[in-house]
C-alpha cells in the first residue's frame, strides 16, 4: 500500500488504528472506569488526573471517549457489511445483466437513495428503542443504494470495454469475465467507498446519539457526550471540544484515507499520457542562442511564418525530455504547407507551439518562430491576443468536441466575431450567417440555431472552420482536420479548404499523417520523423522522387502503390520513443540504406536544391532506390 507515503494518509491510518484499538481493547488505553462518577468534581477542565476534564456527573471524559468507541465501531461494522454486500452484488448484477433486472434494481436504488437515512432511523428507534442492530441493519440497506449505483456504473464501464468483448468472443463464461475483468476494477472502488460510508455512519450515528437515540445510558457515546456539553453550555464551554473533536477527527481521518485511495486508483488506471495541466497563457522567455540561427533557413524573407531550429521539451529542468529537437520550415503567404508524419513525430506539438500553446509542461527550449516579422517565442499575452483568431486561426481534429456542447452554434460564432471586431449584435449575427455560407452549409440560419450534438461530423467541422475564420486570419493551422471524418466527407472538407484558401489568399499549415490528403491540398510538404524534419520539398517533387529513405518507405507502403497480389512494402520496426532516440541518424535502425557512418553522429539538414532539403547522408549517393 503506497498509501503510507502520503503524510496525511499515514497519520489518518494511525488515528483509525487508535480508535479501533479503543473499540477492541479499551482498557489498554485507559485505566479509568468510564462510569465512575465523582460528583464533587463535575465539569472540570483538563488536569493531571483527568486529561480531558470531567463530565456533568464527574466521569472522566477521556475514559468515556475511549469506551464510547466500541458502540460506534459496532454500528459501523454492522451497517458497512450490509451495505457492502447488498451494494456490490446488486451493482454487479444490475450492471452486467442489464435489461429488466437492471431496470428494477436501479429504480429501487434511486428510491432508497432519496430517503434521508437519519429520518428512517428515527422511525426505527422510535419503534425499537435502543436496538442498535435493527437501526444499523436498516441503515445498511439504505446506504447500499448509493454503493449500488457506483458499482453499477463501474461495471457498465468495464462491460463496454473491447477487452470484455474479446473475452466473450474467446468463450469465457459470465462468471469468468466477472472474476477476471469486473471485480479487479471494483475492488479499489469498494475500499474508497467503505471509508466514506464509515464516515457517514459516524456522523449519523453520533447525531442520533445527540438526540438521545444512542446506547442506553449510562453507556458512553460520542454523540451523547456532545449532548451533555450542550446542556452545560452556559456553565462551561470546554466539554464541547473533546466530545466533538473525537467525532470530527475520526471522520476527517476516514475521508482523507478515502481521498488518498481514490487518487491512487486514478493514477493506476489512467493511461500514461502527458497530462495537460491548467491552461495559462504562456508568457515564455526561451533560452535563445544566437548561434542556433546559423541554421539552414528556407531562403525566403517574405515568409509569413518562419520556424527555425525549434526544439520542444517536456518536464521540469531536472527531468527534461525533448520531443522535438530540430524543426525548420516556413509558410509563405497564400501557400499550403503540410507537416506530415506518423504519431509521435512531434508535428502536433510543433503546431501548438506556433500558437504559443504547448500543452502541459512543454516549452520551447531552442529556436525561433517568426510570424509576420515578429519573434513569437517572446510574445506577451497582449501580443497573442492580437494574433490568435485574428491573424492565425486554428482547426482541430475532432469536430464534435471542438465546440462547446452547451451553447448554440450561432452563439459561439457570434462570440468569436464580436471578439475580433467591434460590432453590434445584429451586425455580428449577419456576419455569422455569412461565415456559415462561406463554409458551404446549406440553410445557415437553421444551422446557427442548432447545438453541436445536433450536427453531423462534416457539418460540425465546417462550423469549426467558420469559427476559425471569424477573425479573418491570414494563416489557418489545421491539426488533422479530416482524420475523424468519413472519406467522402473528408473530400468535401478538403475541397472547402482549397476554395477558402483561394478566395481569401489565406495560407494553410495542415498537420496530417495521410499522404493522400497532402497530395490533394498541399503546395509544399515537410516530413517529420522522431522530432526532426527529415525532408522538405514541393509536393510534386517529393512524390516524384522522394530522397529520404523514410519518405520513400512511407510512400511505398501506401496500399495504392503495390499491386494487389503482392506484399506491401513495409518499413520494419517501430518509431523510437523520445527517451530512446539514437545518437546518430534516428531512422538508421529501420533504414534499408544505412551504413556504419549513419549511426555515428547526428545528421544535419542539407539544401539539395531551391526549396528542397533532406536530412540524410545517403540521399545524394547515386539516387534513392525507386
Amino acid at each position: 500500500m503506497g498509501l503510507i507515503r502520503r503524510p496525511a494518509a499515514a497519520i489518518s491510518i494511525l488515528w483509525i488504528g487508535l480508535v479501533t484499538l479503543a473499540a477492541i481493547w479499551p482498557s489498554l488505553l485507559t485505566n479509568a472506569d468510564p462510569n465512575n462518577q465523582d460528583l464533587a468534581n463535575i465539569l472540570q477542565g483538563p488536569s493531571w488526573s483527568h486529561v480531558l476534564g470531567t463530565t456533568t456527573l464527574g466521569e472522566d471524559v477521556y475514559a468515556r471517549i475511549v469506551y464510547g468507541a466500541r458502540p460506534m465501531a459496532v454500528a459501523i461494522v454492522f451497517a458497512l457489511s450490509i451495505a457492502l454486500v447488498l451494494g456490490t452484488i446488486g451493482g454487479v448484477v444490475a450492471g452486467y445483466l442489464g435489461g429488466a433486472v437492471d431496470g428494477f434494481l436501479i429504480r429501487a436504488a434511486d428510491v432508497l437513495f432519496a430517503i434521508p437515512g437519519l429520518l428512517i432511523l428515527l422511525v426505527v428507534y422510535s419503534v425499537f428503542p435502543y436496538n442498535i442492530s435493527a437501526g444499523m441493519a436498516t441503515f445498511g440497506v439504505i446506504l447500499s443504494a448509493g454503493l449500488l449505483r457506483i458499482v453499477r456504473s463501474v461495471t457498465l464501464g468495464v462491460r463496454e470495454e473491447p477487452y470484455v468483448d474479446a473475452a466473450v468472443v474467446s468463450g469465457l463464461s459470465r462468471s469468468q469475465i466477472m472474476t477476471r475483468h469486473v471485480f479487479p476494477r471494483i475492488r479499489p472502488v469498494l475500499f474508497v467507498q467503505a471509508a466514506l460510508i464509515a464516515a457517514i455512519v459516524i456522523v449519523v450515528d453520533s447525531g442520533l446519539a445527540f438526540l438521545g437515540f444512542g446506547p442506553r445510558p449510562p453507556q458512553p457515546s460520542w454523540g451523547g457526550l456532545v449532548a451533555e456539553a450542550r446542556g452545560a453550555i452556559f456553565r462551561q464551554s470546554w466539554l464541547l471540544i473533546p466530545s466533538g473533536a473525537a467525532i470530527a477527527l475520526t471522520v476527517l481521518a476516514l475521508s482523507l484515507i478515502g481521498d488518498a485511495l481514490r487518487d491512487q486508483n486514478t493514477a493506476a488506471w489512467a493511461p500514461s499520457k502527458l497530462t495537460r495541466q491548467r491552461q495559462k497563457p504562456t508568457t515564455h522567455v526561451p533560452a535563445l542562442r544566437p548561434e542556433a540561427i546559423d541554421a539552414v533557413l528556407d531562403d525566403d524573407a517574405s515568409a509569413l511564418l518562419s520556424v527555425t531550429n525549434l526544439a520542444i521539451a517536456f518536464g521540469d529542468a531536472a527531468d527534461q525530455l525533448e520531443v522535438v529537437s530540430d524543426v525548420t520550415f516556413s509558410v509563405r503567404p497564400g501557400e499550403v504547407v503540410g507537416l506530415v508524419g506518423e504519431s509521435g513525430c512531434g508535428k502536433s506539438v510543433t503546431a501548438a507551439s506556433v500558437l504559443g500553446m504547448t500543452p502541459g509542461t512543454g516549452r520551447v527550449v531552442r529556436g525561433s518562430c517568426v510570424f509576420e516579422g515578429r519573434e513569437m517565442l517572446t510574445a506577451t499575452a497582449g501580443d497573442w491576443a492580437a494574433i490568435r483568431g485574428r491573424r492565425i486561426g486554428f482547426v482541430s481534429q475532432e469536430p464534435m468536441v471542438s465546440l462547446d456542447p452547451t451553447y448554440r452554434v450561432g452563439h459561439q460564432l457570434r462570440e468569436a466575431v464580436r471578439r475580433h471586431q467591434k460590432c453590434s449584435r445584429r451586425a455580428a449575427s449577419d456576419r455569422v450567417i455569412e461565415l456559415l455560407e462561406s463554409v458551404q452549409l446549406p440553410d445557415p440560419v437553421a444551422v446557427a440555431k442548432r447545438y453541436p450534438h445536433q450536427l453531423s461530423g462534416g457539418m460540425a467541422q465546417r462550423v469549426a472552420i467558420a469559427l476559425a475564420l471569424a477573425g479573418d486570419p491570414i494563416l489557418l493551422i489545421a491539426d488533422e482536420p479530416t482524420t475523424a471524418l468519413d472519406v467522402t466527407v473528408q473530400a468535401e472538407i478538403l475541397d472547402l479548404l482549397r476554395r477558402l484558401r483561394a478566395e481569401r489568399q489565406m495560407a494553410v499549415l495542415i498537420i496530417t499523417h495521410d499522404w493522400g490528403v497532402a497530395a490533394d491540398l498541399c503546395d509544399r510538404v515537410v516530413v517529420m520523423y522522431a522530432g526532426e524534419v527529415v525532408e522538405a520539398a514541393d509536393i510534386h517533387a517529393l512524390i516524384a522522387q522522394p530522397l529520404h529513405p523514410y519518405s520513400v518507405g512511407l510512400l511505398d507502403s501506401h496500399p495504392e502503390r503495390s499491386p494487389a497480389d503482392e506484399r506491401l512494402v513495409a518499413i520494419p520496426g517501430n518509431v523510437p520513443h523520445p527517451a530512446h532516440w539514437p545518437t546518430g541518424c534516428r531512422f538508421e535502425p529501420r533504414c534499408p540504406r544505412s551504413i556504419e557512418r549513419c549511426s555515428l553522429n547526428p545528421v544535419a539538414e542539407v539544401h539539395i536544391g531551391p526549396d528542397r532539403r533532406v536530412r540524410c547522408i545517403r540521399a545524394c549517393d547515386g539516387g534513392a532506390p525507386r
Binding site: L172, E492, W515, L555, S557, H558, N574
Partner: protein
C-alpha cells in the same frame, strides 16, 4: 462448395417503432474456406454490427447465419462456446482491446480458460509460439500492454485470436487506428498468417484500397445494405454502383496529379450536407446520389448481377446479357460520372 460462413437476409435492428435503427438491413454474403472477404463502408454502414452479430456480441433480429452448415444465429452463450474455437475476432482499438492491468501472458491464456484445454506449461509454450508468429519475442509475456506501441498491441491481439486455431477471423477495422507504416506491416502479417494457416477472414474496413490488398472479394455497404459486391480488384478499379464510385473518387491517393483528376471527376458527385436520415423505402443512397431518379426513392433496388460474381443494387446497372462469361465485359455500359441532377 459448402461455404464456411453463409449469411442470408440478415437483419439487425435496434430500438422499435419510429425510432428503429436498421443497422443491418437484409444482408446476404458467403465466405469460403480460406477466403478473404472485405467489407467496406463508412460510419453508419453497419459493417461493424455485421461482424459483431456473427460472433454473438449483438442479437440478430431476423435472418440466418450458418457456419459449416450449422445454424448459429440464435445460439445461447453456453452453446456458442465450442464455436469460439473456430470463429474469432480482432478489434479496432489496440489500446482498449487488451486489459491494461493484466500481463500479456494472462491475456493470451484467456482463450484456453474457456475451453479448459491444456495445462500451464503447454499454454505458455503455445503463447510463445504465437508471439513468434506475430513477430514478437517471448519476453513480452510478462509485460503489460502499456509497454507496447499500438502496432505491437495489435499483434498481440492477433496472437490472442489465433490461439485456438480458428477457421474464421472477423477483423473489425484492425488497421484503422495504426500509422501508415505499421498498417503495412500488419496487413502483411495478416496475409502471411492466412497463407500459413489457411484462415478465412471477414475483413472490415473503411478503405477500399486496404481491402483490395487482402481480399479476394469485396462487399460495399451503405446504411445497412449491400450496394455492390464482387472481386476485389473489379470493385476497386472499376466500380459500378454510384456509391462505390463516390467512395473511390473521394479516397485520396498520394499523387497530386491523380488527385486533380479525381477532384474534377468528383464535381457533381454525392453531396454530404443534405439531410442524412435513413429512409425506410427506396435506395438508402438516393438522397445523395447524383444519378437518382424517382423510382430510386420509392423502391429498393434489386441486386443485379453484372458479371458471374459481381453484383450491384442499383436501378441504373444493367444485368449481364445471358451468355456473358467474362467478368470484364466491356460491351456493357458502365456508369460514368453522370450529369448532376441538382447543383452540389
Amino acid at each position: 462448395m459448402n461455404a464456411l460462413l453463409s449469411i442470408h437476409n440478415l437483419r439487425v435492428h435496434f430500438g422499435k417503432g419510429d425510432r428503429v435503427v436498421r443497422a443491418v438491413d437484409d444482408v446476404s454474403l458467403e465466405v469460403g474456406d480460406g477466403e478473404t472477404v472485405g467489407v467496406v463502408g463508412e460510419s453508419g454502414s453497419g459493417k461493424s454490427t455485421l461482424g459483431r452479430s456473427i460472433v454473438g456480441l449483438v442479437p440478430v433480429t431476423s435472418g440466418t447465419i450458418k457456419f459449416r452448415g450449422a445454424d448459429i444465429t440464435t445460439l445461447s452463450a453456453r452453446h456458442r462456446r465450442p464455436l469460439t474455437a473456430d470463429i474469432q475476432m480482432v478489434f479496432q482499438d489496440p489500446f482498449s482491446s487488451l486489459n491494461p492491468s493484466r500481463t500479456i501472458a494472462q491475456t493470451l491464456a484467456e482463450p484456453f480458460l474457456a475451453h479448459g484445454r491444456s495445462d500451464r506449461t503447454h499454454r505458455r509454450e503455445m503463447a510463445v509460439d504465437m508471439l513468434n508468429r506475430v513477430e514478437l519475442t517471448a519476453d513480452a509475456l510478462d509485460k503489460y500492454p502499456a509497454q507496447f506501441s499500438g502496432g505491437q498491441r495489435q499483434r498481440i491481439a492477433i496472437a490472442r485470436a489465433l490461439m485456438l486455431s480458428p477457421r474464421l477471423v472477423i477483423c473489425d477495422e484492425p488497421v484503422s487506428a495504426l500509422d501508415l507504416s505499421i498498417q503495412a506491416q500488419i496487413l502483411n502479417l495478416f496475409a502471411d498468417l492466412r497463407d500459413d494457416l489457411g484462415i478465412a477472414y471477414l475483413f472490415i474496413a473503411h478503405d477500399l484500397a486496404v481491402v483490395r490488398h487482402l481480399a479476394q472479394r469485396t462487399v460495399v455497404m451503405y446504411r445497412g445494405q449491400i450496394m455492390e459486391s464482387g472481386p476485389a480488384a473489379d470493385v476497386n478499379d472499376s466500380p459500378r454502383h454510384p456509391y462505390t464510385q463516390s467512395l473511390h473518387a473521394a479516397a485520396p491517393v498520394p499523387d497530386p496529379i491523380m488527385q486533380r483528376t479525381r477532384r474534377e471527376a468528383r464535381i457533381g458527385s454525392a453531396s454530404t450536407t443534405v439531410d442524412l436520415t435513413s429512409p425506410s423505402v427506396g435506395c438508402p443512397f438516393a438522397s445523395r446520389c447524383p444519378s437518382a431518379f424517382d423510382r430510386c426513392r420509392l423502391e429498393r433496388p434489386p441486386t443485379v448481377q453484372i458479371a458471374p460474381r459481381h453484383h450491384a443494387a442499383c436501378f441504373l446497372v444493367q444485368p449481364a446479357a445471358p451468355g456473358a462469361t467474362d467478368d470484364n465485359n466491356t460491351d456493357l455500359p458502365t456508369i460514368q460520372h453522370a450529369q448532376p441532377r441538382r447543383s452540389p
